[in-house]
């Protein structure tokens, strides 16, 4: 039932933006005068129309400031690369920017060039997406899993349809919402949402990022402390993707690629291939020991190596930075001292592990003599269960 109206809307949308400001005005007026039409075009929000209008006069100061701040966020080494991917400023003009000067000046130069081309928030948002795609470890991503209603498991939706429908549902609910899409190389679409309300302009500095792979039930979301609009976001996602239910998986990380590897169960294949070299180095490290030294506990050492290999595999682990365990278990220590032995209530603790590369760190514990081999399954199950937030209770 969505099919036709959606396509029509998409056509209107594209034209409205590509053509000129007058058509924006038209759609704005239309939305005011014709209530029937309004329903289908109101995602051309009043604010965006206003921004587009500003483009005629010159670039909006808000847009200029946003671009300036975005450039300031980018590491110096990446600025040239990101501007090239953005492909908004022509190469000939890009060359005029001296990337060796201080960042403040670079950002000013970029803003000047953008002003000449009358950049709008639409382009600026794309620049922000590219920044986040290139410099990925700036956000904490949470994984959500969606499920289809029984009998509707077949997924035939098209990515373009998904985008349109998503945008439409969200803008119908909140009016002033700025949504941008950008396809990434690995068939995923990145969605950037700047939230606003019917009475407030979208805040371009507090955005929600989403990464969605079509044909998969997983969506990766970075909330940036905005939890208010989650119901609207779920509604839009499930309508657009034709899903029935959505639930959070207790899995979070800074590294989007590792999360993907974990949920798509790729880590034992993909991660293996590109990391073979580092593994070889690791092996040689074990054998550095002088052969003239006799290890009495050689057998035990070999067992630890073997068990570690069995639990973690040969490949380099997917990268996550933390794991958290809420323990609500009975307190048990050495039966000799019998401390708190009579206590029935659970001993409540919260244990957090953090490391630049948690699973690799855990892997090294037993060989270093810090942990037993095998390590507790509470820790080793992280990649299999695709979870890093746990609550543990007594069985």
């Amino acid at each position: 039932m969505y099919g036709t109206s959606q396509l029509w809307v998409a056509g209107r949308w594209g034209r409205a933006f590509a053509d000129n400001v007058s058509s924006n005005w038209w759609s704005l007026k239309a939305s005011r005068t014709d209530p029937g039409l309004a329903r289908s075009v109101n995602f051309m929000s009043a604010w965006e129309a206003g921004a587009a209008l500003a483009g005629v006069i010159g670039m909006d100061e808000i847009v200029a400031e946003f671009i300036r701040r975005t450039i300031l966020k980018i590491p110096v080494a990446e600025i040239g690369k990101i501007l090239r991917i953005w492909n908004f400023i022509p190469e000939s003009q890009l060359k005029t920017i001296n990337l060796k000067q201080c960042k403040e000046n670079v950002s000013q130069d970029v803003v000047e060039l953008c002003k000449k081309k009358r950049a709008s928030m639409k382009e600026a948002a794309i620049l922000d997406i590219i920044y986040h795609q290139t410099c990925q470890i700036k956000k904490i991503w949470t994984v959500y899993k969606m499920t289809k209603a029984p009998g509707e498991e077949v997924d035939l939706s098209d990515m373009e349809e998904f985008k349109d429908s998503f945008k439409k549902v969200l803008q119908r609910a909140l009016k002033n919402v700025h949504i941008s899409f950008r396809d990434s190389e690995d068939t995923a679409v990145w969605i950037r949402i700047a939230w606003g309300t019917p009475y407030m302009k979208p805040n371009q500095y507090k955005t929600t990022y989403m990464v969605y792979h079509s044909q998969t039930p997983f969506v990766f979301i970075s909330h940036c402390r905005i939890k208010k609009y989650i119901p609207e976001l779920w509604q839009a996602l499930m309508t657009a993707g034709n899903y029935h239910k959505i639930q959070q998986m207790e899995l979070r990380s800074l590294y989007l690629d590792s999360l993907k590897a974990i949920v798509f169960k790729q880590y034992n294949q993909d991660f293996q291939t590109y990391c073979l070299t580092s593994l070889e180095e690791e092996n040689s490290e074990v054998e550095i020991v002088d052969p003239r030294i006799i290890h009495e506990n050689m057998k035990e050492k070999e067992r630890i190596q073997r068990v570690t290999r069995e639990t973690f595999g040969d490949y380099v682990q997917p990268r996550i930075e933390f794991a958290q365990y809420k323990l609500e278990t009975k307190f048990k220590t050495d039966p000799k001292n019998g401390i708190l032995a009579e206590r029935e209530e659970p001993f409540r603790c919260l244990v957090k592990f953090s490391s630049p590369h948690l699973l690799e760190a855990l892997k090294s514990l037993a060989p270093a003599g810090i942990a037993d081999a095998p390590l507790s399954s509470l820790l080793t199950c992280i990649p299999h269960k695709a979870m890093n937030y746990f609550t543990i209770r007594e069985k």
Partner: protein, 183 residues
């Protein structure tokens, strides 16, 4: 489990055997390498490394007579103290007649200390064995510790004419007694 005894095997000709024991294996290995390097060309020394006692029985027949046991503790890790404490009951009492010493590492980084020096001193006094200090992480200190250990090992193995392990212990006694007096 089997006690580790000092004189239940015949000595290997001209070879002195040292057993380095402690939880921090990399440190033990580095120390072992330093000992071997220091002996190159002069004396035959065999270095055995173990993380705890008792030693696995399946290697019993390959093991030569052990002339000196060095318990290596790191002040930074309580676990290393616990390992040594758990291993000590597996050593025969006659070993403590001069063929055991305690080596404490990580002394210079006081803020990192998890164990108090007193605990270690107390342990050495209880077992009537000398206590050596040296930071094994630093190469030059490691080398000098290795030199010391070789000298003690030579005596313990009976390679120094006119001196036995017990002699050495009684020579070191004044310092041991002073420590006991303080308590």
């Amino acid at each position: 489990m089997a006690l580790l005894r000092p004189l239940d095997k015949l000595p290997t000709l001209d070879v002195a055997t040292i057993l380095l024991l402690g939880a921090e294996e990399t440190l033990l290995e580095q120390l072992g390498v330093a000992i071997i390097k220091a002996c190159e060309g002069s004396a035959k020394v065999q270095v055995h490394v173990a993380s705890c006692l008792p030693l696995p029985t399946d290697r019993e027949c390959f093991r030569p007579r052990i002339d000196l046991i060095v318990f290596v503790l790191s002040l930074r890790s309580k676990y290393s103290l616990r390992t040594v404490e758990a291993s000590l009951p597996h050593v025969d009492a006659s070993f403590f007649l001069g063929k055991v010493c305690f080596l404490v590492t990580g002394v210079r980084q006081e803020p990192n200390a998890s164990i108090h020096m007193d605990t270690v001193r107390k342990m050495a006094t209880t077992y009537h064995s000398p206590l050596l200090f040296g930071d094994l992480e630093v190469e030059c200190f490691r080398a000098s510790v290795a030199q010391r250990l070789i000298q003690i090992l030579q005596i313990c193995a009976g390679h120094v004419p006119g001196l036995s392990a017990l002699n050495l212990l009684s020579l070191m006694k004044p310092s041991l007694e002073l420590t006991t007096q303080e308590t």
